[in-house]
Symmetry: C2
Amino acid sequence: MTDYRIFNNDDAMRFADKHSELFGDHSKLSAEEFGDGNLNLVFRVSNDKGTSLIVKQALPYARCVGESWPLSTDRARIEAEVLRVHARFCPEHTVEIRHFDAELSAILMEDLKQYTILRTALIKGKQYEHVATQIGHYLAHTLFYTSDFVLTGPAKKAAVAQFINPDLCQITEDLFFTDPYCNHERNNIHDLIISTARELWQDEALQAEVAALKADFLSKPQALLHGDLHSGSIFVNAENCKVIDAEFGFYGPIGFDVGSLLANFCLNYLGCAGLLADTEAVTEHQTYVRQQCLTLWQVFAEQFSQLMSQDSQDPMLRNSLYQKQFLQQVFADAIGYAGCELIRRTVGLAHVADLDKVSSEQQRASIEKQAVELGRRFITQRQSLNSIEQVLDLLPL
Amino acid sequence: MTDYRIFNNDDAMRFADKHSELFGDHSKLSAEEFGDGNLNLVFRVSNDKGTSLIVKQALPYARCVGESWPLSTDRARIEAEVLRVHARFCPEHTVEIRHFDAELSAILMEDLKQYTILRTALIKGKQYEHVATQIGHYLAHTLFYTSDFVLTGPAKKAAVAQFINPDLCQITEDLFFTDPYCNHERNNIHDLIISTARELWQDEALQAEVAALKADFLSKPQALLHGDLHSGSIFVNAENCKVIDAEFGFYGPIGFDVGSLLANFCLNYLGCAGLLADTEAVTEHQTYVRQQCLTLWQVFAEQFSQLMSQDSQDPMLRNSLYQKQFLQQVFADAIGYAGCELIRRTVGLAHVADLDKVSSEQQRASIEKQAVELGRRFITQRQSLNSIEQVLDLLPL
């Protein structure tokens, strides 16, 4: 770490120039920094012909809080290595990593400037039909090919060790599974739903189910997860989707990635009632989002099943009855984690714009209560829900 | 590894002398090597006053097979470190490690020459009443204090990485969970039960359950297991028990350790009908073994419950309803793993003397068939068996 320094625009330009054949000495480069959120510096470096790349550097603390919350810059390595592994199995929907420098904790990657962030698109009511199909494919392939179905025992253990990610996992362990279920100072609860939050703090039956989901998050290294697959981690354009931001990646339960995205669709489903212009637009958009949830699970399940049946390497795990039971448990896990995401995005520290942008406080409160109630049902009913259709029947009309 | 050399008696004496205050320059030392089994050299080094210590050195291959089966000597580090961790939480029932040398892959440890191996005692029909109580205590304390109930996320992840044990885990993955369910050349099947073995190879419903248990063995790092807790890994005398041989240790499902020992009691229960002199002796010994199984689970469950309720650190895992469900799942896992142990000790590579010593081939075949059938019931009924009493009701009278 002796050579680590926080990049300015010039550093970012030099880094991009050095590690890419796109620029060259005589090109006229420019750089602009734009925040990606909380933990990193992100620069767009462009030449005078309009070609550009992204330089992302991990800061040694959480940017939103400041230097008081130290955070290992090893997360840049995790991000680069997860995305490279995922690109091996699904290059079409994974952002391309061009270079990673461990000492600088800096990544040079493809610029997706022709794309929009999925959350932004959804909030505007845009409807890209291919999202669920493509991300279902991404999930099936990245999760299957990093799992026990394919890797030998020794290879799997080495991969688990490579992706041990204590700092970032602890953020999830706390913000996702603990804070929303107690009166924690980090929580961010709008005044009008404080009684809804209090109910969560007192619901021991719900908390027992969340504890089981947390225990699996801690101790169920089934596959190399993205670890933070919400609609802000997906870029979309008219034809394609690309997944970015894998710094929360680690070996965990497969249902976590699937459930995270399902929940973000559900949050948008609920929020759009307060975001879009008229009832007709809301109905149309909700029909689209519902269909995306359905397709996401169907495509994931179908492709994951096919991969299990055709490409499993472990002789015992080739058993088709076991594979069916395995997928059923992934489904229950996914619905449970979706429930946790719905709750923590409503009463926890980090909210989503899909709800926070609802301008009427009354309407926002009513939607937030729906989100918490939906989350509760997902968590408590996850083992008895038998199909994605049954899950979607729980969405308010 | 440059300094690694295979010990002779002189090396073992020098090693013991150098790392212990028990001997001293002028003591007259002697050493004898005695096989512990398959993977290591074991020396007893004694001085002329009768004080002795054990020197155990890992060989870079599996001794029973020869140099053709290479095996990492890192297992000596695993063994020493697992036993030291376990001794922190249960010193009274864990063999004391005096010194470990990484380059030589050699361990200096307490000599338990006043003790007998539990399997040897059981085969002779000896009945030590304290075994189950003490090992139940050992299991509850070593497994609880290395689990997510106690360790923070980062501490747990570091511990998982410290105890990644690919070579030895692969032996279990193959011999325990795969070979017995197919016609593998490593299997060791007595002629008279070949049809029983064939039934295992064709039973897809059973194999699906074994696949689920194998998947958990691969991906459920709940606690730091001993990893090979059969009755040959326990020393016993009139007052005490001590656990040895932890080279298979790793982070795995808690039920695996509990189930391994339960199965070894059951194997002795079945075998003693062909080992002891008369019907009365058999009945008496079987009553004792049945009681040991009962006590083992009861003591483990009671103490583990108490530890969960009094000493859990993770706020979500303090939930008593969750703790109850957790223990119930450990029970089902334990019965499942016990079933796998019963089967692999009968038709797999490594048998147990409790069955192999039955001199009548007909009687041994009949007992082996009972062991396989009991294993099958354990595995397939594990989720519906509600108490240890119900499990013991499956034992033939």
